[in-house]
């Protein structure tokens, strides 16, 4: 009934809009890649553009769990932070090349997710947010105390990568444009991987578990295992984001592991639109742009961002992109 009335009176523009959105849905990874390649041409600060990429990827990793599976974690800073520290430690302590450090960052995210996930999955529903928060806090203290490895309170400094050697090419990683495109390349790879996972049989299972746990179980799905595996997949994306952050900043601040960083993923994801492909990046962009703009006028930008988030929870739970998608459908 709802569907019928909408199509019969829909004006031309919304028809075109819907066509575009369905195209965007089908070619989502290509579209995102194109945008990221053109992005620095419009973005005022390359460093900010790179931050949007990195935090967008982090929020995207979080979105796999929260948006697609429907499980709210407040411990994702541990996955992001472990990725960053593994990458940083690989470079500063072991002198490994950048690509090995990135791979170790992904591994760090996976390991942290497996450790937290194995425990947190034993509890369900509303407990999950509490337990993941507590366990990430535990990792925060562990990294904080291991000063020899992590630099403790001062963060891990000296994660310097000056050139990126790739198939005989020597790219100048200090050049902001090169710097941006190197990071963008990894984000694009991650986007294609996510798009693929979402379209896979496992992607269907994730949606099913979100839609009805009871039905999924009766259909022969081991729900606990699906939750665990999704958590670990999410950890791989967040670990990559953390590793890229370490390369980008040349330092891993201890705040990367902090509870506030977990909250960041939640806010970006919800602002942009949870459970949507582009939402996390849009959310990250809104958040970081708001932060940069508002902090020109006041140091208390968190008030504005917090208010925007609360308004989002109350009135636009689908976020910016989710609301656009919904409007175009009805």
């Amino acid at each position: 009934m709802l569907l019928g009335s909408a199509t019969s009176v829909a004006p031309d523009t919304s028809e075109r809009m819907r066509g575009f959105l369905s195209f965007a849905q089908r070619r989502r990874a290509w579209l995102a890649a194109l945008f990221l390649i053109l992005f620095p041409l419009v973005a005022p600060f390359k460093a900010l553009a790179a931050m949007i990429l990195i935090y967008g990827l982090y929020a995207l990793g979080f979105n796999i769990l929260f948006g697609y599976l429907g499980l709210l974690s407040f411990g994702h800073s541990a996955l992001f932070g472990t990725g960053a520290y593994f990458c940083g430690i690989a470079i500063t302590h072991f002198g490994l090349p950048w690509w090995a450090a990135l791979a170790l960052g992904v591994l760090g995210g996976v390991l942290a997710a497996a450790a937290i996930g194995a425990l947190a999955i034993r509890t369900l529903g509303i407990y999950f947010a509490m337990v993941t928060l507590a366990l990430s806090q535990c990792l925060y203290y562990l990294f904080y105390e291991a000063t020899d490895w992590t630099g403790g309170e001062n963060g891990l400094t000296g994660v310097n990568v000056k050139t990126i050697n790739l198939f005989g090419f020597h790219l100048d990683f200090v050049n902001p444009i090169v710097h941006y495109y190197v990071i963008a390349a990894f984000v694009i790879v991650a986007l294609f991987a996510l798009s693929r996972i979402l379209a896979s049989p496992f992607g269907a299972v994730i949606e099913g578990v979100r839609e009805s746990e009871a039905r999924a179980r009766a259909s022969g799905i081991d729900v606990a295992r699906v939750r665990f595996v999704t958590f670990v997949v999410s950890g791989a994306f967040c670990g990559l984001a953390g590793a890229l952050l370490a390369l980008h900043l040349s330092i891993v601040p201890i705040e990367t592991m902090h509870y506030d960083t977990s909250g960041l993923a939640v806010m970006m994801c919800l602002l942009g639109g949870m459970g949507t492909f582009f939402g996390p990046f849009i959310g990250a962009a809104i958040f970081l742009l708001l932060e940069n703009l508002v902090s020109l006028y006041t140091v208390h930008w968190q008030l504005i961002v917090g208010a925007a988030f609360i308004a989002c929870v109350l009135f636009f739970p689908r976020g910016v992109w989710g609301t656009i998608l919904q409007r175009s459908r009805t």
Binding site: P201, G203, A204, S212, A214, A218, V226
Partner: protein, 250 residues
């Protein structure tokens, strides 16, 4: 194969705290026939049903499927062995299309954790899903989200989803609850057609409804087995009559 025992319960009980919901029920279910579990409200039908499909674990006693002890296995293992239930209150994937509901249920037999292949490449599953949808009369509703289907259509989709798991044993919990007389007749016809290829266990509150289609009846009362037998015997059984008549007094 018809006639041998597919499922057997030995003295199963279920307690919730201090409440004895089910008390030492032993029964056998024959293959490729329709067995109905009936009884008045609070007889323990739903508890027994949920033990049979693995959604609950018995407090004591043993459950055997095809001669194998399956007591206490998680529910998804029951599903893999071919014991599949449909829910009394419609439980579907509401935002997913009718087709995807059925396709996903079928997919879990093939793969759950495959993250790389496109799901569209599993063509066989798509065809199977369409076939099952046609079979339960929902072919024309293929792409509609389950939440937007009419009540009767949702009940039919519920059956389709259960069928997609290729059950050897299909457990149906009051499949006609809330249906119009017309829809009820169609559902009963469907059940009889399905019974040609598989074992069906039916839980039903209204005895009259199932007397005609059941091969065997199990009557529960106050959590215990009151009687079992062919429909004609149950119809004449004095104990059963008294229990159901007693019900009507209220």
């Amino acid at each position: 194969m018809s006639g041998d025992i597919i499922l057997r319960t030995h003295n199963v009980s279920k307690r919730f705290g201090r409440l004895n919901a089910l008390n030492g029920v032993s029964a056998e279910f024959r293959r490729n026939v329709i067995t109905s579990i009936i009884g008045p409200n609070g007889a323990g039908k739903s508890t027994y049903f949920n033990l049979l499909c693995g959604a609950l674990r018995p407090s004591s006693g043993r459950i055997e499927f095809e001669g194998r002890d399956v007591t206490g296995l998680p529910q998804h293992r029951f599903a893999h062995m071919g014991i599949v239930k449909s829910f009394q209150i419609t439980t579907l994937f509401p935002q997913l299309s009718a087709h995807e509901n059925v396709r996903l249920a079928a997919q879990t037999r093939v793969t759950v954790f495959d993250m790389w292949r496109p799901r569209a490449s599993l063509k066989m599953l798509n065809e199977q899903a369409d076939f099952i949808l046609e079979r339960v009369g929902l072919g024309h509703r293929r792409d509609r989200p389950a939440a937007l289907l009419a009540h009767g259509e949702q009940r039919a989709l519920e059956i389709a989803v259960a069928l997609a798991s290729e059950p050897k044993l299909l457990l149906l919990d009051e499949p006609t609850a809330g249906m119009s007389p017309q829809e009820t007749r169609e559902m009963m016809d469907l059940i009889v057609r399905l019974a040609a290829e598989r074992t069906i266990i039916l839980v039903e509150h209204k005895m009259k409804l199932v007397l005609g289609i059941s091969d065997w009846l199990i009557v529960l009362h106050h959590g215990e087995l009151l009687a079992e037998g062919a429909p004609d015997d149950i119809k004449r059984n004095e104990l059963v009559k008294r229990v159901y008549l007693g019900q009507r007094d209220h």
